[in-house]
Symmetry: C2
Subunit: 414 residues, 2 copies
Amino acid sequence: MTNIAILGFGVVGGGVADVIATNNETIARKTGEHINIKYILDLREFPDHPLGGRVVHDMNIILSDPEVTVVAEMMGGAHPAYDYTRAALEAGKHVVTSNKEVVATFGAELLRIAKEHHVRYLFEASVGGGIPVIRPMSSCLAANELSEVDGILNGTTNYILTQMIRAGKSFEEALAEAQEKGYAERNPAADVEGTDACRKICILAALAFGRLYAPSSVHTEGITAVTAQNVADAEALGGVIKLIGRAGRVHADDPDSDVFLLVSPHVIMHENPLSCVDDVFNAILVRGNAVGDVMFYGRGAGNLPTASAVVADIIDILTHKDAEIFVPDWESAASAPADHTALPYAFLCRVQTDAPYDEVTTAVRHIYPDAEFLTVADAFDGTAAFVTPTTTEADLRAALAPIGTLTSALRVMP
Amino acid sequence: MTNIAILGFGVVGGGVADVIATNNETIARKTGEHINIKYILDLREFPDHPLGGRVVHDMNIILSDPEVTVVAEMMGGAHPAYDYTRAALEAGKHVVTSNKEVVATFGAELLRIAKEHHVRYLFEASVGGGIPVIRPMSSCLAANELSEVDGILNGTTNYILTQMIRAGKSFEEALAEAQEKGYAERNPAADVEGTDACRKICILAALAFGRLYAPSSVHTEGITAVTAQNVADAEALGGVIKLIGRAGRVHADDPDSDVFLLVSPHVIMHENPLSCVDDVFNAILVRGNAVGDVMFYGRGAGNLPTASAVVADIIDILTHKDAEIFVPDWESAASAPADHTALPYAFLCRVQTDAPYDEVTTAVRHIYPDAEFLTVADAFDGTAAFVTPTTTEADLRAALAPIGTLTSALRVMP
């Protein structure tokens, strides 16, 4: 029997207890032992829960109990989650977590501490909920040099965008519906402004490239500025708008080249499998030099899917007890990622101008002879939509300034 | 340095050598050691290949060399691949393979032998080429009771069906094109008749349910009977036809209920993420009681993707050297899987009859009041298409016999 402690008995912590209760026999068949939740750390009491008697309010009880070998941190937030994680690792206990904020901010340091104390720090649940992605990236794709990771990493924003695409809703209408259905929180900032997706792409980039960038150093645009007009323009082009966390090598073929990271709405053409990922689902596409593109898909949130990943990490610890496990070496990035305004992209643009249609098309084609206009003359009402060939954001803004106001410039996923 | 031997220096064996040559430094960074291909077993000589000097023709050289710790079997076919695998395991060497025929036929026995000799038998490359699926299913989803696995498991047939759907080609035209492009072999039977997909679903079912069914015991339909009319009917219904390997518990909620397996063309509705998997791509959808549906997507074949999976298995062995690794316990199924004609399905039917349209619709609606007709009166030419509510194949055939000839009955994926 393995004794564990759960820190934080909210939605995910409760889900972990549920999954262990439901599947303990299956788990025991696979690992040879049962999991026992010896303690639950929470500020509250849970007198009506079957495990209510396991609740404690003092982390030291858990730290000083040698019977507890695994700590599952489900508290959320940076503190005290980081402090408790650190203390648990230093006390020689394995830690598993779903806390993307702690992993994205302190992951490099916590992995180093885990290594020093010969224990493991696992975080499969921090990205993509129950979707297996962290372990497949570090083990199944280990024979590859990875060049890029792209993800639809936030279910709330994907639900909102799907509603805007399918039902022609505005951002505000779709957000209100998502809040009604419980898919968005009353304060949706962390989701709709891209903060959540940013933490996750930082974790994925660290796995792929060995370097953890501070989320605050990553250019992050949410979906609050996406309009119904943008959605229609993307459809006219043969694509859909998705909020994408994107990380890669600046030169795909050169594993020593700089790393870029950004979070922003992208136009995904229908040929790209990410375009089929709708509603609250998440997907992560990984590109390796041997395997090509592989994609992992599933529910990116929810108590049971996330708990599924947490318990899988616990099982991994149980089945590799005496192994000298390879621990990834994450270096904390000393600088910001590569300048996102210098990345090669085609842009889906809208330009507002007082000039007549013919003048606008002529002026745009003077800069970009291959620009493809989506707005025809008859539909011109002072704004025109077109797609540029591959350029950079910096060049684009400079080139179009004399023509009119660039009201939107959506990156088209290469 | 770890010494390995490659058995069979064809497309995949050559790919393994290429991936090791290209990424050996990356691999060494992750594992702490380089991989050295000490021997290549093949009937042929490769005087112009840089590793030509490593070629041997006698398996005993490899078996008797204690420096060789890992054998990579890429020969294909049942014999002598099975015999060499068995001998290598008995000689205390780990074996990794891409050989689905050997895994699907002898996997239970070979895993038992591996366990007895404290070595590992790994086969990530046997299903889905480079797509990580075997290891994620056995580790990342270990906290789940699995109820179903559905897969697009054969790239050749998926390419042919995609051409039939997109370009309106007949099966024969699409097959000829696939052969021209090198996606289909000159003798395409193993692909188009479903044999290849059948072996793969047997392996996935064994992973999910612990029981290995003989491929010969599994109902297997290929795509040779799929017509352009079927494709059009599926489109009218809002779906696409895909060749699906499907395995699951007869009662999804009961982990002790019987297991079903079948391979056949299915209508996949557009809401199902498998409907977006086109061309030579493969995808595997797994359903767990905690995680819900997760899907793994990528190139299901090709020398480098497959080699990526083989080398990942080798890396797994290197990074878990002294671990007492959990080895799955596969029981060889003593009986056939559950009767596929008793599985609940809606069917997309075409019935040929001499009766007038009104009589046909009345007769069908007498049996299935909720049947949805796709053929309207004006388009009726003696055959009519409709969708039944959920029934079973056995009931369907009996019920429709008096009405006319059932020229096709495609399963609609629930």
